[in-house]
């Protein structure tokens, strides 16, 4: 309004400018490493998780960082604070402008970031998706954490081992129309029939991925089937609720429980003996493999075509499958001996 408005405005402008210059200078050091590249191509690889501050992606990106340090590339991680469908677009655009060598991204939306990724690829950037894929024509490779067969097989094998290959078991699933879970349950039934004829699947109940419902359904299962020897819960909400019920009941240690869970949810129950083992993939390995896949693309060893083979450090050699997908491998089994190594 008057002279003082101008002065305050100018002061604010100055403060912002100073902050910008400071960060700008700091950043140009990092940028040099990025465009520096090397003989085998530009090995500046940036991880773009769904959101920052998510323990799952902290673990996966740490795996990526370890891999990139092994082969002498430049690691960076950027990402939005919230996992909104469009939030990753501006970060992808920024990376395109900076001219990084590769982007490793877990997509919040399979379609929304497509154009931005294709623009990056038009500028020579290699794009690898992991954990959550985009449409197949928007990326060079997808690092798939697990297949339905792999998940079904590991869960049945684990429960069979724990109950001595015979007896009644039940499944505590998510909702009755959950696509993934239903596919896994069908595979489990087939596999049980062919490989474990002495195990009887007596019931499939649905906890709707709600903690209290899953808890109540577990209680009901144990009431209904007094001979029950084991429960498989192929959902992280279900297995945690079932473990909580078992740990405080008379069935603790007598009824086996396995399924898909995360170490942080399951740690207490594994340590107190309620649960012997459960499965999931190892996000650290997932990030590690994605980083090596990006390296192989950048250096021109592979193009992402089916049948391409590349080396992934300590994980060994991998082959690209149909639709540019690379399978990490069998799910990872967590038990008392290794759960301490994980924090997600």
């Amino acid at each position: 309004m008057t002279f003082s408005t101008k002065r305050v405005g100018a002061l604010a402008a100055l403060a912002v400018s100073v902050a910008l210059v400071a960060t700008g200078c700091a950043a140009s050091d990092g940028g040099d490493g990025g465009s520096g590249g090397g003989d085998g191509g530009n090995l500046a690889i940036t991880f773009l998780p769904k959101n920052l501050g998510n323990p799952y992606f902290d673990t996966s990106d740490a795996g990526g960082k370890a891999a990139i340090e092994e082969f002498g590339g430049t690691y960076a991680e950027v990402g939005p604070t919230e996992a909104a469908p469009d939030a990753q677009v501006s970060f992808i655009n920024t990376l395109t402008q900076q001219g990084v060598g590769g982007i490793v991204v877990s997509a919040n939306d399979p379609e929304a970031i497509c154009d931005a990724l294709n623009e990056a690829r038009d500028n020579g950037i290699k794009v690898v998706t992991f954990d959550s894929d985009t449409n197949a024509d928007c990326r060079d490779l997808f690092i798939n954490q697990a297949t339905a067969d792999g998940i079904a097989k590991v869960e049945v094998d684990e429960i069979a081992k724990q109950i001595g290959n015979a007896g009644q078991i039940a499944i505590l699933s998510a909702s009755a129309n959950a696509t993934n879970q239903n596919a896994w349950i069908e595979t489990m039934k087939t596999y049980l029939a062919s490989d474990y004829p002495d195990i009887e699947l007596v019931d499939v109940v649905y906890g709707d991925d709600d903690d209290q419902t899953s808890f109540d359904k577990t209680a009901a299962l144990l009431q209904t089937y007094p001979e029950l020897k084991g429960i498989i819960s192929p959902t992280t909400v279900g297995i945690a609720a079932a473990a909580r019920y078992l740990s405080t009941s008379a069935f603790k240690g007598k009824v086996a429980l396995t399924g898909l869970g995360t170490p942080n949810q399951m740690r207490d129950y594994v340590e107190d003996g309620t649960v012997t083992s459960f499965a999931l993939w190892n996000p650290g390995d997932l990030g590690y493999l994605a980083a090596y896949a990006a390296k192989a693309l950048i250096e021109g060893d592979i193009t992402g075509a089916e049948g391409d083979t590349f080396d992934a450090g300590k994980l060994g050699s991998y082959t690209v499958g149909a639709d540019g997908a690379v399978l990490l491998g069998d799910p990872y089994v967590f038990d008392k001996d290794n759960i301490g190594d994980f924090d997600f």
Partner: protein
Amino acid sequence: MTADIQHAPATRSYRDYAQPAWRRLLFTREAAIIALLAIVYVVAAVSVRNFAAPITITYLLLDVATILLIALPMTLIIITGEIDLSVASVVGLSSVTLGTLHQAGMPIEAAGAVAILVGAVAGAVNGFFITVVGLPSLAVTIGTLALFRGLAVGLLGTTAVTDFTEFWTDLAKSKIPGTPIPSVMVLFVVLAIVFAVLLHLTPFGRGVYAIGLASEAARFSGVRVERTKFILFVLSGAVSALAGIYYTLRFGSARGDNATGLELSVIAAVLLGGVSIFGGRGNILGVIAGVLLIGILGSALRLANVTSDVINIITGALLVASVVSTSVLAWIHRKRIGAGIKKGPPAPAQD
């Protein structure tokens, strides 16, 4: 009585209007924001690698176009002293409407028209509760924020509609030939001119300011307070729906959770642009500068590898500083007027 009225203007001197017009225009809050915008741009262009490239402008404008569009009616609503928190949910609702209708076989043009109509109806629902029932807009639009978002997510579930006609998705991302400016800016400039004329050059617009300064006084002066507010909320709904169509086509993805949380970005930018949250103050130009300032700052900081947490902190601090500086300035201003004119008119209510 008549003698007094004739006498008063001759002796009173309004400090605000005592200076020549160019000085009054130069030293406004809006001018300060525009100057800040220019300085940040120049500093970023010089010090941040890759920022000076024309593509920065393209990405930046594509990103802020949604906020720019919604900020136009929001400016008018906040100037009346009201607020509309449901705008981002209307974006989601419009996105889902467009998606489901297009999936059912309707062409984009018709589906878009229906989506805008849905947005206008959503705005009318807000307007009805605020002007006819007489509830506070904060409470009403918090409610409809949840309501419209719930409808949007409920209609489409967790799925997304992605198969839009390529002509339209390409148009949403296209640039004006020969420039780095996205085509959507044409739409924005047209709407910005319409809203600027409406606010600054029409009796309706004077009424908007009058309502914000003193609602009762405005009513007694013949401003149709309820009708004005109702129209503004319908406009807000319609423009938010239009922004939702742009958003959907740009990302090629219609989802119920599109643009979640966007209302706060819009309101932050409007306040940064010099509009008083208490109403009665602000203009369109300042708001546009406010939106662009937040956009440029984010873009420059991202290019400088600053993490998104830090970007949020800087944007938030800037907003707080801007609001605080206005209050401090208003206080200084009142003191100076108080000192200069013993029996002068009371200072206009500032934020």
